[in-house]
Symmetry: C2
Subunit: 145 residues, 2 copies
DNA sequence: TAAAGCTGTAACATTCTTTGTTTCAACTTT
DNA sequence: AAAGTTGAAACAAAGAATGTTACAGCTTTA
């Protein structure tokens, strides 16, 4: 199992918007070319990012723009925006533990807190990085090429 | 996306083995009944746990037993044993970023360390809990029912 | 030694998720 | 009005997760 590539795609898209949007119109076709991801998927990701208030897009005129300051967008915000994880949480619990078995009817109580703790540790780590850092690292590498 | 239910199934199975194996033979059929998971899947999970040196099973006689002390088995060990995550890591990176784009050819360099850090934070949290604690919590809840 | 009960495993089936594709209406600019 | 774009629905394809069937081989016990 893996976290959907929409997440890294979204980060890539946002980085492109920041790096290129002053010089050119960053369209879904351009982003499709840079990411290697289908343009409809790109629009889909952009749509989710827009719902989350992270980007602005407009029909007709084209070109995506950031809707927030770079340092106000964390990897966690992006991860949440593109629905990497459903409401059930990161772990898929087996669905029919037997309530007639003492272990079966209590395993959820014993495990849930610990599973949540692992998920939270993961998400907190994503909160530590902002798009500002990603963009700054990217620009630095580009300038040194 | 979610982490395969084989993980929680495995924890459930191991807890059952510890709780019940003194009084009875803990067969894959019994475990299937307690977990609500198909007996072949149970045997499959047991097979992976055996490969990882966590349980012993025997053809013919039946009945699974722990191969290690309870406090030497962490949730991380179980998670690794049942192959929750492949070698690529927790994140699925979009596969064809465009090397002709300055962002496309560098996005991996910028992101990989941060993705690994998030995965590591997650795994380290799983290392904090041993099966001893899971079993002890379970027995406590059962005794208070 | 035969029967019964169990494990190990392969092959296949089913369902769900992810990703891609086609299509087209609606919008904006020129 | 034409050209280029977004938004979104509907469908297709591929892959992953889970379940099912089937059966060979092991162990115990009668």
């Amino acid at each position: 199992m893996q976290i959907t590539s929409k997440f890294t795609t979204a980060v890539h898209i946002l980085t492109c918007i920041e790096v290129f949007s002053e010089q050119m119109r960053v369209t879904s076709d351009f982003l499709s070319g840079s990411t290697g991801v289908n343009a409809v998927i790109v629009r889909n990701v952009l749509s989710k990012l827009r719902s989350a208030g992270i980007v602005n897009t407009r029909q007709g005129s084209g070109g995506a723009h950031l809707a927030k300051a770079l340092d106000e967008i964390t990897l966690y915000d992006i991860y949440k925006a593109v629905d990497c994880v459903d409401d059930e949480g990161l772990f898929h619990f087996h669905e029919n533990p037997n309530a007639n078995c003492p272990v079966g009817r209590n395993i959820h109580k014993v495990m849930d807190g610990r599973l949540t703790a692992a998920q939270t540790a993961f998400e907190n780590e994503l909160k530590k990085t902002t798009l500002a850092e990603v963009v700054s690292d990217t620009k630095k590498i580009i300038s040194e090429e």
